[in-house]
Amino acid sequence: MTDTRPLAELMPGDNGIIARLKVDEALYQRLSAMGLRIGRPIQVIRRAALSGPIQVRVGFTDLILRRVDALNICVAPAA
């Protein structure tokens, strides 16, 4: 648990493993259902202009989420 970074700081092409979800119960459920679970690998695909949302890939699903929300998702470096 030493080297985690907020997902929002990852650049396009960066990989990682989801280490921690600092979100409330409702969002935790929802992220899990969409595939964002602790222990799963995640990749940042692109970041929108004007500090817009980021696109990430978890498994076979592409998700878009806001950078503010991505600040609460901690990612450990890929093994």
Partner: protein, 596 residues
Amino acid sequence: MKRLAIVGMPNTGKSTFFNRLTGATARVGNWPGVTVDLLGAKILLGADMVEVVDLPGLYDLHGFSEDELVVRHFLENNPVDLVAIILNAGQIDHQIAIALQLKQLGLPVVLLLNMIDEADKLGIRIDTRKMSEALGMPVMVLSAKYGKGFAEAKKALTGMIAISEQSPGLEDLQEKLAQDDQVEMQMQAVISHSVQLPIQLPESFTAQLDKVLLHPWLGLPIFFGVMYLLFQGIFLLGAPFQTGVEWLLTMISQYALEPLLSPAPGWLHGLLIDGIYNGVGTVASFVPIIVLFFLFMAVIEDTGYLSRAAFLMDAVMAKMGLDGRSFVMLLMGFGCNVPALMGTRVMRSRALRLLTMMVIPFSLCSARLQVFIFITAALFSAKHAPLVLFSLYMMSFATAILTALLFKRKFESTDPFVLELPPYRLPTLMQLWLRGWQEVRHFLKRASKFIIIGVVLVWALTHLPPGVREAGPDSFSGMLGTWFNPVLSPLGIDAQMTITLIFGFVAKEIVIGALAVVYGMEGDALSHQIGASMDWVQAYSFMLFTLIYTPCLSTIATLRSESRSNLYAAATVAWSLGLAWIVSFVFYQGARALGY
């Protein structure tokens, strides 16, 4: 009668499957414990009459969105014989959780893995036999869109429903769902046992296309370019059809109705031809454009481009207190405000929903578009007409933005914005045909409900009491016009136009129908008459008012039912009425002051 519930995640082709299974027999209905209407249909499966219910899409049975609550409440209050779970085979690795959750509840389930063609393309191999063993439920793969595997899936459903016994409503649903860690473990086990996933995703078509369409700087210009071309395409393709329908209607009236009705008394002749036929006919001539409009919208929606629009526009929308989904709903509103309002159900935060629902009615919907096409054609040259229409679309955006900015403090939200980005899909001709047909049906329903009653009322108001000059100052319409005069004459709107606005409150389609009735003309003659009865400043002021003052009765009713607040619905209508008056007043008086 037995009951089959269809459950699945959003974007899995659940509705496509439902439509294929039930044909065109679906009806909207009420179910105990559920506050919203659900689509249901009664069909024969084997020897059983089965009621099939299409439940809203959900990500998780634990979820807290309104749609997810609906599904939970439905399962708690309605016994079911069988649940069909539709999942996207291409995303099987995380969607399988729902199947496990439903299994845990002790419901009889069949798992249908849809979009198998896409999973094939992604190189995902699913061993349905092994999966079926691991899950303890029948598993079928299919493509609901192309029909592949559909017959087998239907057979499986038929077989299961024949032997399954009704399980009662689930009372302690929440508690039964408690052991989540277990689901997580099972999920991994099932997937590794029965699914072969490719190690690296093939650099698919979607990725290539997204490089261009989601480009940080080119993405938005391309998006608006595509929308612009779409509108151009609609009018280019629609115009000949529109002329054709008009021609046909004139022929029918000239060679069939007129001779047929010549012995009838004058008033009946007037009511039937000048009232109903001209009124409804004028509205009907816009059907081709509207059908095309919805077809094009459907293509954009079904390909997955709208989710991209949400990605591109989110940063801009955030400044207005909205998010990318709000933008998508605004775009949907250009078709019809009502489904766009209902689409906001995916938002969890009530504040965000209310703010989005407040701006949607400013979307220039297809019904208002008809009015504007008609009036711009009558008062502006062919060169200027497209510019005028474009300016009205800009006004539509401007009023929506202004509204959001003014009210965002009132409806502040921190709803997290997380959205799935589906791969691009190609809609099939069958899908398009169904969408077009649905629109025609929708129009016919509206026509029979509002438009005929509307035009008859307009005819009565303009022709009664008996003996008055048509729409003259002594007719009821003249009196109404005089009554509203102090409010509307500062906007350059005369008594006749006032009548159409009153009926436009019910549905905008009536406006042009009402114009035809008020002037007792149709087609080109009507256009000329309108062109002569006002100048362009008045016409533009009228269009601004029509755009902003209020969407239609259905939209207001939807605002009320979706917000469950009379105060909110009333405030929204009051705001748009006030804004419409101010905008038209400023424009009209300003233009006049400048000497136009």
